[in-house]
Point group: C3
Chain length 442, copies 3
């Protein structure tokens, strides 16, 4: 039942995607085999916020032949060889003129760079700097068989309903060609998160999954759905770069945190970074990043974080042919998805506001069999590292009872008494079953 | 007129107290010779908050005879030998069965531990671990002459009226048998505080003194008087463990401080700890402590601190026969009481809000003879260490005038200009006499 | 057109000024040649706040002859020789009696101290401690030709109107006799600031310039104009001690900062100190200082800082004859005035609240030609050290757009994204011209 991420990667990797066109559409169809994605289309030319939906781009094949007639570059070998969104071109020219249309990266001379030109029309080819330097003078032939035509910008959505119609948005992008960490890690992790959330016995929140082309996709989605989504939004997370070698999943916090009004998901990210190994936070910044820049623009100001492992710009393979399955591993994607599932499960509990039903004096725990001991029913709630520690649990219990005043959500209690919220959640449920706690009525 | 604390200690120490019964009642009568305590009784079985008033317990005598007929343990020698609240028992048994009823402390093998069983009915005897290890096999005879019967839970109160009917509560407990620091230091210090407060020319607040059995006593008192007390409550202080060798009197802050809403007494405790030698603070915690756990339960959330010297759990003699007059000294109790009297005198002034009556520009001090100098009347208000320092006093005076805006109480002013509030109080009174300051009308 | 500060200094230095009388009046007239000062007079005896306007004091000449008939002291040589506000006196006496009227400074034995006695009537002479020690026994003749008579206390004002009638007050004092740093540096710097502000193309605020005798002058001004000024007051600055050798212009912050409600000019002073070389801040204190003590008295609580270079009390020449043109330099005054002009120009922009007109998603910068590059129009706005840095400017631009939400003024944006506000101001104007930002309507 669970998706085989290796197989899924192998099917998606070779496709030449762009922000529009058959590549991203075919990729969405493949992803839809593992989660019930609905694919939407918005016509080229439609105004979306401050932008305009671009036309579709299709690559059929791009080739370059050398002066001796030999094939120098072929997009069938690696689709990074064509400038993404290149106009079609066919013709002959000498090396000097050709060179004005070539892109390489001198600092990483054996890598083919990934270059785009979505909004300025031009043609171009990308190659390793070694290969570029080996080009000899003479007449070259270029054949770029692409097409730019009006069509649709696509985005895909799926939803898992919960008790509340408050929405948690999980957003990832699928618009880069053959790149691994900075492309496929996000959608692959999303498939696993979908599986984990679907398997939950009950969900407090409604989960919305969104697969888009980066930037213009979130702008288009917000133009269409932002006004409806905003008042229902509990939190959001952009999934990107989740397959690298870093030991840590880090959260870029939202603009709300940056402007002194941290949302629950910001507070939870800080809490995880402070109390659990393998999690970190980064400050919000409007400079650099992914689709959170749109969700967190001041007009929306959504509580959306960005989750990443080895972040864009922090590894040499970023945006070039080194970003492949040698750099990214499926195991790292699985680990990231598991960590994020733990985080989301905690998010379900973090904002709950409990009220002590016996707030005058301490309740008599003894007659309720609520003193934690190895023989008590409470030992089934393990308090730490799966080792039962009665004193630790008693401290958690007294802290919960003291702070369950309707002014502190579970996360605030955890922060105040300095225990992970993941330990407090089952204890709070236990006390609720014993009528010592109840949920604050809103 | 002032009580002789040595004599008082000698009379109280031998009595076998518990949370109910003749021991605590007799102890309250002795204490009442030095302050006008009124003893109240609440019948066994009455519901008090989440608890039920327990029956009375009386120890007449408990003894253990060895296989050779010799007397091994006798509560007449040390009343710690009987499990506090032990059921009566009379019978013979071999060492193996007896052992299940014995309590000793292997980590402190020459001390008799203090053990209680208020709410689970059983019989038991306590002895040093050395003595326990020396017991030989054979038949033992046990005679525990105790009685558990319906009766009263007692608490005792006294009150010193002040200008306002706002109450400062001073609470201590008197329910442990022959223990010194963690029992008698609190009541002895309370006697001294009563004397100091009675001797004050005028009191701003009404002082209420409360002597109770620990935990169940404060729960019972709150059940009876909490609703009446809460809206009148200016502050409170639990007195415990005030006779040990520590150099410092420390205040455990209230839950209000812990939850970001520090009360005046919390702020004053932090101020004393920050500016005066011999004072310290501890953070609030619902885990561990004394009756402040009840006063600070979320339903009451009273501004009650706990004052202690060498704190429970920080000395090996805690809850065993080492907690005697070798460990605790009457001199330390006297010193604690003197420090707390200074603190309470400052509390009388700390919350006063003064208003500058000449707030536009600086008042002309010269024509009012308010420039501090050795010849001025102000030299009678000594500014520091009983040495007159004119520049220091002028700085205090200018600070007072600048901040007496009705937004800062005297303590906030002291904190802002970084002088002890104990120095500012007499200066503020002097400026009030010269009509430069007045009390803010509420 | 610009004033020659050397010449101005030479004309003002010899005049014997006091808080009232012909000395300060004549000095104001000279200053009025360089800025359109209007001189106001308030009659002696008028009640001003808690004070009374003093009479006028005039020094004609003060001399002391020794036992051998030689002239020992002559105010024509240095007007510091006469106690400022000395009563007239003429007579002979022996050294012992004379000595009770002499003032010298043993710690600085070659300096003539500057001593005043405005409100206690007495006569006196000041001299170096060396000179005092050399006095031989015998009969001395004293001739102090001064006059204390009812007249006027003078203050002088000038105003430069701005777009708004919100006022920025620039205040300096002119009541010390022949002293340089702690007297003339303030009025000289004010002349330069007047010139700089007059030359501005447009001023957001109305600038009011005030020349007064220290303390009693600000008290008198506030008594007359405080009620009118207070509601219109945007900020104020007291100019004092601006000509010493320190490398730094420092701002003593206002009482608003001290009491946790920093005004815009306080925040800007902290920002300059934190981001630009050559600026520093000092905490507010009601103890010591200049006229800001009156402006910041709690009844007015105006947002007035004090700007100084080498501060009163931090150089040995303070209040004695060493405070001359050897200690103070005109170059330092010029540098101070230039730094303050930069600061005031930033103040014009710091409080502006911009609103992003395209707040939903990021605006498409490319189609607006707003990507900073060496070829773009934006390169005319240099981003740092007069070197164009496209990435730096793009970061500033994205930060501005993200935070222009009507909740952050330009200074708050600068602080949040950690760039000097002086760099953001021209960029904000550029974005406003491109309709991406607008001023928040109030």
């Amino acid at each position: 039942m669970a998706a085989n991420l290796e197989t899924l990667f192998e099917r998606l990797f070779p496709i030449c995607r762009s922000i529009t066109g058959p590549g991203i559409r075919r990729s969405m169809e493949i992803l839809a085999e593992h989660m019930p994605l609905e694919v939407h289309g918005v016509p080229s030319g439609e105004k979306v916020l401050d932008w305009t939906v671009p036309p579709e781009w299709e690559l059929r094949r791009a080739r370059l032949w050398g002066p001796d007639g030999s094939l120098v570059l072929d997009s069938d070998g690696n689709n990074l060889h064509v400038l993404n969104f290149s106009t079609p071109f066919s013709g002959e020219m000498d090396l000097e003129e050709l060179d004005r249309h070539l892109f390489s990266e001198p600092a990483l001379p054996d890598a083919i760079p990934y270059v785009t030109s979505y909004y300025n029309r031009r043609w171009g080819l990308c190659l390793s700097h070694h290969q570029r330097e080996a080009l000899v003078p003479g007449t070259y032939r270029v054949e770029i068989d692409t097409e730019i035509r009006d069509g649709l910008l696509n985005y895909a959505t799926a939803e898992l309903p919960g008790e509340s119609d408050e929405v948690v948005l999980l957003s990832t992008y699928l618009c880069h060609p053959s790149l691994a960490n900075n492309e496929l890690s996000g959608p692959l992790a999303m498939v696993r998160l979908y599986e984990a959330l679907e398997a939950m016995e009950q969900r407090r929140y409604t989960y919305r999954f969104l697969v888009i082309p980066e930037t213009i996709g979130s702008i288009t989605y917000l133009a269409r759905e932002g006004a409806e989504l905003l008042p229902r939004m509990a939190a959001g997370m952009v999934l990107t770069c989740l397959g690298g070698p870093s030991e840590t999943v880090s959260f870029k916090l939202s603009r709300r945190d940056w402007t002194g009004r941290p949302s629950t998901i910001d507070r939870l990210a800080r809490h995880f970074a402070g109390t659990l190994p393998g999690y970190a936070v980064r400050d919000f910044s409007p400079m650099g990043g992914s689709d959170e820049r749109q969700y967190c623009s001041p007009g929306f100001d959504m509580p959306v974080v960005q989750a990443a492992r080895t972040v864009y710009g922090q590894y040499p393979g970023y945006h070039n042919s080194h970003d492949d399955l040698d750099f990214m591993t499926i195991a790292a994607v699985e680990d990231s998805a598991a960590r994020l599932a733990t985080f989301i499960a905690a998010f379900e509990e973090a904002g709950r506001e409990y009220v002590n039903r016996s707030p005058h004096g301490e309740p008599q725990l003894g007659r309720r069999d609520l003193y934690p001991s190895l023989n008590s029913p409470m030992s089934r709630i393990l308090s730490s590292d799966d080792q039962f520690d009665g004193r630790r649990m008693l401290n958690q219990l007294l802290g919960l009872l003291s702070l369950a005043d309707g002014e502190h959500d579970l996360l605030a209690i955890a922060e105040r008494i300095d225990f992970p919220v993941t330990e407090l959640a089952p204890l709070a449920r236990h006390l609720r079953e014993h009528d010592l706690l109840e949920l604050k009525s809103s």
